[in-house]
């Protein structure tokens, strides 16, 4: 079938099968109300249909729950889905990160054991990488994994594990050799129902409890759950972080202009401009930087499609976090005293959300590689500056 025929087929199938009630709700799926949305009957139906069709992970082989399609066909599905305001109900940590990693590094048994459950969104995964003592220096992780002959014994603590309290499984980096740093790390799949695991949600300054601490206390893990070679986990992790970084830049879509909000909260002058000239100047400056940022995302995407160098992700992330953090501060400045509320009916829901968004935005320059680490990467990879 040529691509044009496939497009027509995809279009017709999607129109018939995507529940109209879910139109344009995609953005919510990754937000706080994800659970509510996912529990709806329409959502369940849509997920089941996509699972049966294998289109949640269209390029995966049918034996892994996919549809065995080409990259071009997968792209067509995405485009047609976007055209009707639809979304992929299967998209998860599993499809975006663990799946591609297992396909590259897992053995056939591991693929068959896990990929179909990811493809049907029935097994939720969390990522056990960070540790309290490690931070930006991921490779200094200490969670111990000892070979007990018939199983691995895991002891230690992970932190910043997204959704660990909801997850069924965890893909984790563990230390199998204490004498080497990067060279002593292995990549292990751990069933979160194993005895000895405890996941505790962390309360963030924004009130979010999305992240957890995970404690491993004499956790037994079957020998077959190690992916790749013993002590070969670091290169798997680096590859997986690439999947994370490229998916990061995907989700950065356009934002609402702040001008109307400012006219409402700050007022307008005789010429129709936002009344506070100092605030207005800084808003314009920030909005222009954002416009240039969006043009940069488009340009990088275009260049990557044409095989250009793609070493700009660290640069993009720092520009993005700087611009969005500044924007969040501007929102609070616009809202004034109304932007300082935490709870109660004397603040509107939007106002309360803005306070939390400000606080949440501070994480943007920390997670997924801190501002400082991204600058180091740019200096070394993009600019070729030497190590000390």
């Amino acid at each position: 079938m040529d691509d044009q025929d496939f497009r027509l087929e995809a279009r017709s199938w999607l129109r018939e099968n995507f529940p109209p009630a879910l139109t344009n709700v995609s953005g919510l799926i990754f937000q706080g109300n994800a659970h509510a949305a996912a529990a709806s009957a329409d959502f369940q139906l849509w997920r089941q249909r996509m699972t049966d069709k294998g289109w949640g992970v269209p390029t995966w082989a049918p034996r892994y729950g996919g549809a065995g399609l080409s990259e071009a066909q997968a792209k067509i599905i995405g485009e047609e889905l976007a055209a009707i305001g639809g979304f992929n109900p299967i998209r998860s940590y599993g499809t975006m990160m663990l799946g591609p990693t297992l396909l590259e590094y897992g053995n056939e048994e591991q693929k068959l054991e896990h990929l179909p459950w990811i493809a049907s969104h029935e097994r939720r995964w969390c990522q056990g990488f960070s540790e309290p003592g490690a931070g930006s220096d991921l490779a200094s992780l200490q969670t111990k994994c000892v070979d007990m002959g018939d199983h691995w014994l895991v002891n230690g603590q992970k932190i910043w594990t997204s959704g660990a309290d909801q997850a069924d499984w965890c893909f984790a980096l563990v230390r199998t050799d204490t004498s080497r740093k990067q060279g002593g790390i292995s990549f292990l799949l751990i069933d979160m129902k194993s005895p000895g695991i405890e996941a505790r949600p962390i309360v963030l300054i924004s009130g979010s409890t999305h992240f957890c601490e995970v404690f491993f206390n004499d956790v037994k893990v079957p020998k077959g759950n190690l992916v790749g070679e013993v002590n070969g986990g670091w290169s798997i992790a680096k590859r997986l972080l690439q999947f994370e970084r490229s998916s990061l830049s995907e989700v950065k879509t356009d934002i609402t202009p702040l001008a109307p909000l400012a006219h409402r909260y700050v007022g307008s002058d005789a010429e129709g401009r936002i009344a506070d000239p100092d605030l207005r100047a800084r808003m314009v400056h920030n909005a222009m930087r954002h416009a240039a940022y969006m043009a940069t995302v488009r340009r990088f995407t275009q260049e990557a499609k044409n095989g250009g160098p793609n070493n700009g992700v660290s640069t993009l992330k720092n520009l993005w976090s700087t611009i969005i953090q500044r924007r969040s501060e501007l929102v609070i400045e616009i809202l004034g005293a109304h932007g300082l509320g935490w709870a109660g009916e004397d603040y509107s829901p939007d106002e309360r959300e803005a306070s939390r968004a400000l606080l949440h935005s501070k994480a943007f320059s920390i997670y997924g590689g801190s501002y400082e680490v991204q600058n180091n990467i740019t200096a070394k990879r993009s600019l070729g500056l030497p190590d000390r």
Binding site: S130, P132, G135, S136, D137, S140, I159, W160, I202, V203, L204, I205, S206, G207, Y265, V266, D276, P277, D278, L279, R282, Q325, E329, I332, E333, L335, G336, A337, H338, G339, L340, G341, W342, A343, G344, D346, Y347, S355, L358, L359, K362, A363, S365, I366, Y367, S370, Y371, E372, N375
Partner: protein
């Protein structure tokens, strides 16, 4: 640090010690629940007993004349204490009452009003606060709360929000409109309004800093003629003079906040290890710390110059107040942001103190006009 005389140096030492013992950061943490916001309930955002301890040390009477039970030690002295309290984000109405309300009575009160109210403020038994803002933005000339003559007295209708420490205050100094239109400086009159006046209602505002400023509603609140503070219709210059003291006071709090946020972060830079190095040895962080240190120097100088100007009776208090408030707000934002950033993930958790500094900085920055308001004001005062 300003050069202190012996009394001031003693006062400061006392404040350092007392704050460490009685108002550590855990006190403000006690206002929070475990979800990152203020505890629900009917707390007023501060504790009367600790305030009584401050009063016992004489802090509540520092700018009150001796005739009314105060010490008349001057604003620099009071500023030193506010700064120390700012270091631990100590929740207390000292600024609202002993700094702002005391100044209001001192500047604008009749002999009878001073005699009636200043001793209570000095003793800490009466807590006063200023009620000026009515909405999102500080705009003292745009006041709309209406005060109309009614028989031999006045009748007030309207609302005020947010009123600092308003849930625990006994007395409100209320800026009302008696003539003119919003935006006119003419037609503004100040009133002394007891918190238990009939028709006056107050509600807690739940803010990110777990303080509880009040939302006041006035419905036919009846006041006697002697409730007027200063002149009828011409209260704006008095209001500005009171506000300038409030601004300088908040700037002193922000100075303390920023200084402690910096000190805590610097300690972390000296101990945290990443990539086999103490992170404070990384040059990019060293330079960032040096630049923050520079901003702190500018802030301290601006705040101390403004406090000095109050004590010296300088004519340029307005400029210095706007300078101090604007720069203190900017510096507190910069440093509280970097406090989170340099602590990394742990700084994002409610369990760590960085978020408390961040939240209080945002609120204090907006009190009595934010940096943008004060840059505009400073610019106008200087012919820009």
């Amino acid at each position: 640090m300003a050069v202190l005389n012996e009394e001031q140096a003693m006062l400061k030492d006392m404040a350092v010690e007392w704050v460490r013992d009685r108002m550590p950061i855990s006190v403000v943490r006690g206002l929070y629940d475990h979800g990152g916001g203020g505890k629900p309930g009917d707390g007023v955002g501060f504790d009367r007993d600790t305030y009584a301890e401050m009063a016992a040390m004489g802090w509540t009477g520092i700018v009150v004349p001796e005739t009314f039970g105060g010490a008349d030690f001057g604003y620099l002295s009071l500023g030193l204490i506010v700064e120390e309290l700012g270091r631990t984000l100590a929740p207390s109405p000292l600024l609202s009452s002993a700094f702002v309300a005391a100044s209001a009575l001192r500047l604008g009160g009749s002999a009878a009003q001073q005699e009636r109210l200043l001793p209570g403020i000095a003793a800490g038994s009466l807590i006063g606060t200023l009620a000026v803002d009515e909405g999102a933005h500080h705009a003292p000339a745009r006041i709309t709360l209406a005060a109309a003559r009614s028989g031999a007295g006045w009748r007030l209708d309207g609302m005020k929000r947010p009123v600092q420490d308003g849930m625990g205050a006994d007395l409100f100094i209320v800026a009302a409109r008696t003539a003119g239109a919003p935006g006119d400086t003419h037609g503004i009159t100040l009133f002394l309004v007891p918190a238990d006046s009939a028709g006056l209602d107050r509600r807690r505002l739940d803010q990110i800093d777990a303080r509880c400023p009040a939302l006041l509603t006035f419905e036919a609140v009846a006041l006697d003629e002697d409730a007027v503070l200063g002149m009828v219709d011409e209260g704006y210059p008095l209001l500005e003079a009171i506000l300038d003291r409030a601004r300088i006071g908040v700037a002193a709090e922000l100075l303390g906040l920023a200084t402690q946020a910096f000190d805590t972060t610097l300690d972390y830079l000296k101990t945290r290890v990443q990539f086999g190095q103490i992170i404070g040895s990384f040059q990019a962080l060293q330079h960032r710390a040096s630049e923050m240190f520079g901003e702190l120097q500018l802030t301290r100088s601006a705040v101390e110059a403004a406090l000095d100007a109050l004590d010296a009776g300088d004519a340029n208090v307005a400029q210095l107040a706007s300078l101090a408030k604007a720069i203190a707000g900017e510096t507190a934002h910069l440093i509280s942001n970097q406090m989170v950033q340099l602590h990394g993930g742990i700084g994002m958790t409610h369990e760590h103190d960085a978020g408390l500094y961040l939240k209080r900085a945002r609120v204090a920055e907006q009190c009595y006009g934010g940096a943008s308001f004060h840059r505009e004001r400073w610019g106008r005062l200087n012919g820009y």
